[in-house]
């Protein structure tokens, strides 16, 4: 007797032999295959599980037919972890340093595990970290924001003052100017965590900088720039054009519904939508209005883009349109052929994502992916596309187009203009090769 053809999952931990799966898929379960199936369960369970009478006679998986421990005991009480933490089964997904990239972990980077994230929001505990002189946890009662320079009245705001002002909440991406910087010359790192993990996207809450500048009577005729300064030991400073500052920059205290994490600038950081992370000054203590750029260390020694003629581009800030496939991505292993939802992230410092195309053959043929809502200005947009992998070699790429019409370029086009020795602003199309063995690796095409 032939039954309907149930699909038996090919998840790697299953213990059903592959030839049986294909036989069942092709012919359904008849009596001979039923016996085979039962013996498979028995063999698998010899490894230590107690074989119940029910399972012996069962047709199906122990996960369903056996009572599981979480089913047969009282669970933990409320507030067992007063500040919740992820499941222990998710412990692999952590911020990580790239071995050998930096010598001192207080002046280093911890990358976000993009390969394990969904949607567009980065969980606060996985937001990437980049510190120049370590991170500090500042007492908000002692923190002050000073506004000075070309203003009629220099002022001091306490955190109490700031939290009384009219606030906005907006979702924006933050990307380090050096994200993907290791890959200008050649492939250097194996996974999307290390190629693109200096990217996060969160909801930030704070007061528009324009309100504070107005409160101090900023001279908008002469004052074409503001300098933002951090209150930690590095005293990080960055120049921001006034038109930017008045447009959508805000002074934020909250991230993803709670106060900023100390690693991300608690209690106050600047949010500069569309602009590289270094300008989002953490532990923000001062804004100065001035009539020229300041050429601070991180505008004069670092965060300058080396061109082939030996000139450095100074004050490069905008993070141009970029995208990357996060699953499957480098360092992952496909265990079976068949259907996959290929998923990734796209973002642009100049506006919204308009379209994302995906290629499975290294850029010869392209298909347009589905954009998931919300699609927000200067925020990450999630894209998805169907893919049936037949087991042959493939090279996956994604290419984003933003609301200005800008098309994300291939690495060779980027190098043709900017050479290969820059560190910053590499927004090239990323390629992931899928081998016939199912292993996914980071490659560059052409």
């Amino acid at each position: 007797m032939i039954h309907n053809t149930p699909r038996i999952s090919a998840a790697p931990e299953n213990f059903v032999p592959a030839d049986l799966i294909s036989a069942v898929t092709a012919h359904g379960i008849d009596d001979s295959r039923r016996i085979f199936l039962r013996s498979s369960f028995a063999a698998a369970l010899l490894g230590g599980a107690v074989l119940s009478g029910r399972a012996k006679a069962a047709e199906g998986e122990a996960a369903i037919l056996e009572k599981q421990p979480w089913q047969t005991a009282l669970g933990k009480p409320v507030a067992a972890t007063p500040y919740g933490v992820p499941s222990t089964f998710e412990a692999n997904l952590q911020r990580r340093e790239s071995p050998g990239l930096t010598r001192v972990s207080a002046a280093s980077v911890a990358f976000t595990p993009l390969q394990g994230l969904f949607g567009i929001i980065t969980p606060s505990g996985l937001h990437f970290e980049r510190h120049h002189q370590g991170w500090v946890d500042i007492d908000p009662a002692q923190h002050r924001l000073m506004i000075n320079g070309l203003v009629k009245q220099p002022k001091i705001f306490t955190m109490d003052d700031l939290l009384r002002l009219p606030s906005v909440s907006r979702i924006h991406f933050i990307e380090c100017g050096a994200n993907t910087g290791l890959e200008w010359g050649n492939v250097a790192v194996p996974t999307v965590q290390y190629t693109h993990g200096m990217l996060s996207c969160c909801e930030f809450t704070g007061v528009p900088l324009s309100i504070l500048l107005d409160e101090c009577g900023a001279d908008l005729k002469k004052g074409k720039y503001v300098l933002a300064e951090g209150g930690d030991g590095s005293g990080m400073t960055r120049t921001i054009p006034m038109e930017n500052a008045l447009d959508d920059v805000f002074v934020a205290w909250a991230m993803n519904g709670e106060m900023l994490r100390p690693e991300n600038g608690y209690p106050l950081r600047l949010v500069v939508p569309g602009v590289q992370g270094v300008s989002w000054v953490k532990w923000l203590r001062r804004i100065e209005v001035g009539d020229m750029p300041y050429a601070s260390k991180d505008e004069a020694v670092h965060y300058i883009d080396l061109m082939p003629d030996g000139l450095h581009r100074q004050y490069t800030s905008i993070q141009e349109c970029k995208s990357v496939i996060t699953t499957p991505s480098g360092g992952q292993q496909l265990h079976a052929t068949g259907f996959y939802n290929v998923s990734g992230m796209a973002w642009s410092g100049r506006g919204k994502i308009k379209r994302v195309d995906v290629s499975f053959d290294g850029g010869n043929q392209w298909r347009t992916a589905r954009l998931e809502s919300p699609i927000l200005n200067k925020a990450v947009t999630r894209f998805n596309i169907d893919w049936v992998w037949d087991g042959s070699p493939a090279i996956l790429q994604s290419r984003a187009i933003d609301s200005t019409g800008y098309v994300q370029p291939p690495i060779r086009t980027l190098r043709a203009v900017r050479g290969s020795r820059s560190i910053y602003h590499n927004n090239a199309i990323q390629s992931w090769q899928v081998g016939t063995n199912g292993e996914v690796s980071n490659v560059q095409v052409g």
């Binding site: 799966i21 000075n148 400073t237 004069a300 499957p328 095409v445």
Partner: protein
């Protein structure tokens, strides 16, 4: 009389408030009454220490190359090397510039692919940037501890090492402009690009081709085989279940996508549980992180100073060694492990120092 005096005082106070505060606040908007207060002159002076390329903000003061060398050897060389050449903690500050560069104002080695490192002096165009940064943030583990004159001296020594100023030079707010005119890469920056603000035009463009876009697809670069496990086991860095698990980089790649192998043999989910099931780090290791020992000392590898394994090996079991090492951490020292001195650590509590020393001597890292 007493009442009148008090009233008079109040009146005078109110008048003085009008004179002092009214002209200041009336110019700024006050849409949010009760929020924010005027900054005092002293407060602005305390925080507004930035120095611009036109030297606005530069404090009066001076320092000689010779004085700078003393400070450098005591407080800077441990990270940056005696000649500013150290590549152990940060990229080198000095090197890669020539006399011709100083004449020309452009650094030739920036176009030389054989140049191993791009040093600070090769890149920086503005002298103000160096003064500003050293004064605000150096030394790295004791920021804001240099005086204005010490900052001038350190910068003078640095410029001397880069052969921009002579041995007997004194750098001051008066001489900064003359040195700016000799900065090796002073003409090396450009603002002609579209990445500075939102109105800027992009310089690189992709194409939105959909069909038959590439005649041939060639892999130009991939990770070499020897780097397979260089980022540690990727299986432990991906979700341990689900369709997109990590590659086990501790073993060779699978020969083929083998259904019988992956399905029949099974592959347990690979989760590294790292929270409460693992015993907490020993106190010493926590203190090692807390007090930034790692800035100079590796546990098992030499950085600026000796590794803690080497220290344990040399001193373990010696008489009175705990007290000796505790003093060395507290007061600093030099000579035992080469000529780079260890700075004093006066702010670390004695109990922490004692715990650190015991932990180091145990040698179990």
């Amino acid at each position: 009389m007493f009442r009148w005096g008090k009233r008079l005082r109040r009146l005078l106070f109110a008048l003085s408030m009008l004179v002092c505060w009214f002209p200041l606040t009336s110019n700024a908007a006050d849409k949010f009454p009760g929020l924010g207060r005027p900054a005092t002159v002293a407060e602005v002076a305390a925080w507004d220490i930035d120095v611009r390329p036109d030297f606005k903000g530069l404090p009066a003061g001076s320092g000689s190359v010779a004085k700078g060398q003393e400070i450098w050897d005591a407080r800077c060389a441990n990270c940056h090397g005696t000649f500013g050449e150290s590549n152990e903690i940060f990229t080198p500050i000095v090197g890669g510039t020539t006399k011709q560069d100083i004449e020309r104002g452009r650094v030739a080695s920036l176009t030389d692919p054989k140049q191993p490192q791009r040093t600070t002096m090769m890149k920086v165009a503005t002298l103000s940037s160096l003064f500003d940064y050293i004064y605000r943030a150096m030394p790295w583990n004791e920021p804001r501890s240099l005086t204005v004159n010490e900052t001038y001296a350190v910068l003078a020594h640095l410029l001397n090492m880069a052969e921009v100023v002579p041995d007997d030079f004194v750098l001051s707010d008066k001489t900064m402009a003359s040195v700016q005119a000799r900065m090796p890469n002073r003409f090396g920056m450009t603002k002609s690009h579209g990445l500075a603000n939102m109105r800027g035009k992009p310089d690189v463009h992709g194409t939105a081709c959909m069909k038959d876009c590439a005649e041939f697809v060639q892999i130009g670069s991939r990770l070499p085989d020897y780097a397979r496990n260089a980022h540690n086991n990727l299986a432990e860095q991906n979700r341990g279940w689900g369709p997109f698990r990590g590659v086990n980089t501790t073993v060779a790649p699978l020969a083929a996508l083998s259904a019988s192998r992956s399905v029949a043999q099974g592959q347990p989910s690979s989760v590294v549980v790292s929270d409460d099931s693992v015993s907490p780090a020993p106190t010493g290791k926590i203190l090692y992180a807390k007090h930034h020992c790692a800035a100079c000392h590796g546990l098992t590898n030499k950085l600026v100073g000796p590794s803690f394994r080497e220290v344990a090996k040399r001193y373990k079991g010696k008489p009175e060694v705990n007290a000796v090492l505790e003093q060395k951490i507290k007061l600093g020292g030099a000579g035992a492990w080469g000529n780079i001195p260890m700075p004093p650590h006066a702010t670390i509590e004695a109990s922490d120092i004692a715990s650190l020393v015991s932990w180091i001597l145990e040698g179990k890292f």
